[in-house]
Symmetry: C2
Subunit: 358 residues, 2 copies
Amino acid sequence: MAEEEVEVKVRNKQVILKKHVVEGFPKEEDFQVISSASIEPKVPDGYGGVLVKNLYLSCDPFQRIHMRPLPPSLNNSSTFRSFSIGSPLFGYGVAQVLDSGHPEFKQGDLVWGITTWEEYSLLPSPRPETLIKILHTDVPLSYYAGILGMPGLTAYAGFYKVCNPKRGEKVFISAASGAIGQLVGQFAKLSGCFVVGSCGSNEKVELLKRRLGFDDAFNYKEEQDLDATLKRYFPQGIDIYFENVGGKTLEAVLLNMRQFGRIAVCGMISQYNNLGEEQGVKKLMQLVSKSVRMEGFTFLHHLPNYNEYLDLVLPYIRQGKIVYAEDIAQGLDSAPSALVGLFAGRNVGKQLIHLSDN
Amino acid sequence: MAEEEVEVKVRNKQVILKKHVVEGFPKEEDFQVISSASIEPKVPDGYGGVLVKNLYLSCDPFQRIHMRPLPPSLNNSSTFRSFSIGSPLFGYGVAQVLDSGHPEFKQGDLVWGITTWEEYSLLPSPRPETLIKILHTDVPLSYYAGILGMPGLTAYAGFYKVCNPKRGEKVFISAASGAIGQLVGQFAKLSGCFVVGSCGSNEKVELLKRRLGFDDAFNYKEEQDLDATLKRYFPQGIDIYFENVGGKTLEAVLLNMRQFGRIAVCGMISQYNNLGEEQGVKKLMQLVSKSVRMEGFTFLHHLPNYNEYLDLVLPYIRQGKIVYAEDIAQGLDSAPSALVGLFAGRNVGKQLIHLSDN
């Protein structure tokens, strides 16, 4: 005998795409925060997905790619589909399950993974690689959008699995104060390597040297000749380059790699904003003369190593041996500015948006 | 009691560099064949090197690099020193020892390794990686400048060690009829792979398909859109690319690589003739999205595998399971034309110069 049900609806503020960003840097006007939608905070009957309340949203460089209208051939793939005009953006986040039609998740579960940029997200088909249960809550929840989430596992996989570091090796990291770079640098120090990072402001240089333990750091905007800069910091050359930026930085690095060097290619943010006139990379023959390995990777293929990674990193976090610099914007209204700021390099540390506590 | 010695001198024809070739394709006039020198065909007293009679000289793409005047910083290294104006070129060759002051070599030994472009070479300090004794003479001696020499071991190392091929994988090879490419293709077929090669003439296409057993081949000069061409030959994408040319070919390949693909970077001949305006390579982000490994290598680091390679390849040669296409010019007078022809793509198969029989 059904009780009388009262339909409760809640406001669901959203960040939607207003227009695709073909070239150049995204602007706040490309996005819009709307409050019109309201939803019933439960999953429909017979629905196999989950309804979550978003706690943190993550701003990540890869999202630039989704701001473009992609050709249909690419847009079929879940990895490459564009943001849809008028729909909320998507990306990584930390959330709490409010209602679930999925056997693996129940009300109250804390999760991290792919979510949509709104207060409440109905996630139709969570898979083990898109939604992961949070089991350790003695560390900040925001960390699951950073050091304990996609950026963390990316840094781990790229540095330990792709680069196979050895004690005493010389490591260079670009975008070094970002969500991933700052971790690679700390992993490298813990591995007994010499580590220099490049970044885009003197404030970030200080962060790298004072708080994150890099051996040295420089502001690439103040360097006229990156090849000469790298020769100054690495007179004997670079063994490991963790590549986040591409373009001219990669060219300069190629000239400074050592025999049997490794380049983990994580991303190339310098190229994301100008696809129309992508910069070609010269000096690739250096790969041959120095027997250098350059290897692209994505964290998704390393998800089976996630627990192994947690086993390594959680003790370091608890013992204060690894710190994680976050730049947390408050509230969904600040989301467009936070996202746009990431591509302008305004963030200092991992850029997040805090929506709610659990 | 010393017998009376008669000083015997022999003519020593040489191919010398007339002027450095800074940009563009080398021309025959950049070299000169001179007959003025004559030498005593023995090593000086107390000399630690060997005197050899050259039998075959090898024309190889890497020699283009040595035609340039290199900056002193690079020119210090034995790998990168320039040819000297007025002196004979150097490169790989097959030779016979006429006289030796080195304990490892004796008169009559057949050797392959680094020699100079003249009839007789005084090799001052042969090292295990520059001069290697020939132990198997039931195969053509010329093979030691090709399939059994540097190109052979390069093909072996690049394909088996760098690419780690698996049965059924799809392999693309550029400069596929060259000294190295033709072997990679045959190794790939013996490994159960599907193999397509690109080359620069229809005659070479026929060679690849009819004689060398490639599944397919195309003349890149007749293709307008290499990306579309590769999609035609590899509708499911490329697992292994053996890179000999660089530039636009590499860009097109990057667009067509499959997940976890491997690119063995052996050389980039398309770039050797125009250093002044090196083409940048775009589409490197494909390395990330497809987790592709791109690895440079040189045969020198694989010399310890030389005997292992001989064990593999000699039976194949004797059984006729591997063939080796050679393009043999006769006599030192033909050397400038043969060398220049290599960069114009005139050679069909491995380009050699035959000077003498043993």
